[in-house]
Subunit: 308 residues, 2 copies
């Protein structure tokens, strides 16, 4: 597929449009998932993922594992706050508080193991039906009292346009490090929206990624189409105890409200991409985004290794 022939034109278009997805959501044809992946999810779980575009796995990680991850995440935060500014560390708009640290699967040994943990890795391999690698990783530190909202978007719209990801054969995986309830700005999803691609009007500003990690300015879906998707499948909050995991399709419409509660909402976020879906050139001759946002330095498929 070259960039001229993509069905998913976005941004360099005159009007917003909605396209029905023709690609698979779950690549579970017999013989497709690689060895060992088959047992990660039940047939019913795969079916739910296929229909709704996401799967919530309550308390997949045990409290002692969560404690370990939270401790390491606090250490990385303290180091980032004490250290020199660097590209992989993103601040909240306004307050300047730490928002995210990217690339933790390459920079930290514990998170490097976490992406290989069979509970996550085999679920990704089962859904994507192939070997996989990490397209992006980060820890999100959503502070209490002043957590900012994040507007609706499809990640794939950005990854396809700005990163040259060819197909919808990628998924996001969010591991909750704190309890998420309906009040503290949990992930909001539109179930079923992954079966539509919304192309967005408006050109991509140069070096858009420098702002878009705080607040997107391009790739914003049309309000009428968003309303259509919300009326169609509703909106759900991904609430759960710490240690729960949400897997969601790269084209699922999602966002989050702000957080005025005293309770922070921290999570780890990995994007698994099929090795058969590696990045090409971004649309429209734009330069590629930095390596910590969109991995191009391919080092082979991930091999399972338990966390602890």
């Amino acid at each position: 597929m070259n960039n001229q022939s993509t069905p998913y034109m976005s941004r360099d278009v005159d009007t917003a449009a909605i396209l029905a997805r023709t690609e698979p959501v779950v690549y579970d044809q017999p013989g497709t998932p690689p060895p060992g992946a088959g047992e990660a999810l039940s047939a019913a779980q795969c079916e739910r993922y296929r229909e709704h575009g996401y799967l919530l796995l309550p308390q997949l990680f045990a409290p002692e594992e969560v404690a370990l991850l939270a401790e390491q995440s606090a250490l990385l935060r303290a180091r980032a706050e004490a250290g020199a500014p660097r590209a992989a560390v993103i601040a909240e708009p306004g307050s300047g508080a730490l928002r995210s640290i990217f690339d933790v699967h390459r920079d930290d040994a514990l998170f490097a193991r976490l992406v290989r943990d069979p509970r996550l890795l085999n679920a990704a391999r089962a859904i994507l039906g192939s070997e996989v690698y990490i397209h992006q990783s980060r820890i999100n530190y959503k502070p209490g009292f002043d957590g900012k909202e994040f507007f609706w978007h499809s990640d794939f719209e950005t990854w396809h346009t700005e990163d040259g990801m060819p197909a919808m054969r990628a998924l996001s995986c969010s591991i909750l490090l704190t309890d998420n309830d309906e009040h503290n700005g949990p992930l909001l999803l539109m179930p079923g929206s992954h079966r539509h691609f919304i192309s967005c009007v408006g050109a991509t500003p140069e070096q858009h990624y420098k702002q878009s990690l705080q607040r997107q300015q391009a790739g914003l879906p049309d309000p009428v189409l968003l309303r259509y998707l919300a009326d169609l499948g509703g909106i759900v909050s991904c609430t759960g105890k710490a240690g729960s995991v949400v897997l969601f399709d790269c084209n699922l419409m999602h966002g989050s409200n702000g957080n005025i509660t005293p309770y922070p909402r921290s999570n780890v976020f990995f994007v698994y991409n099929s090795v058969d879906n590696q990045l090409r050139a971004p649309q429209g001759g734009q330069p590629p985004r930095p390596e910590h946002i969109a991995a191009r330095r391919y080092t082979g498929p991930l091999r399972p290794a338990p966390l602890a």
Copy 2:
């Protein structure tokens, strides 16, 4: 009570503090509530209000009444948007979209009847144990997609400091004109927080009301004390169908998250104050806030009159 002797010092103080409330919450001693008020709420409802500081009355208004109120509210909105700017009309920060219209109980015949509707008026008289009048009224038009959050605050902290309201003998009444669910930025309350007064540090800026209706800059509770109150009694969302009503104590800590959903969240908001609790001079020699924000032009107690 003169301003020097108030137990509720706030803003002109050096450190945040928390005081136990000594005043009643419900004024239901025998003989206290005025005639006709007694039947508005059950003893169990009064007890819930006393303990938690609020009461949710699901679908108190029938769908045809809600339709009438929503229609009139849309008409007032269209007039306000077409008309010259005026003080009682408040815009959203940033987008400039209409946020609130104040003083609707004086400027509009339907809302003038609504404040007198026995279901609301007698509930207010029953809780406040006296005749009552309106301290403030408004319609809130919380838009979809871009509704802004409103940080935690006690209304009484502001009304006492900026308006000279002597005691905690007032209540707020929110009538839902749209369905409120957990996603579209419903009112968030901290149950039980009305039994504590939090004094806030920081002086009140001149003409603070011009900003505070969009975003408060003074009267912001200390984060440690907010966390204390949230740990103590939790946080609840006031969700409900259109036509539901929330009554809450003037000193209850409340706020709301933003709203990125496509669904607006509109409500009517009345503050009933006891006729025995009329405003005095604001703290610290500040000039009074405008009449549409804090009524000083007293025209006697409200008399019941059904809405339709």
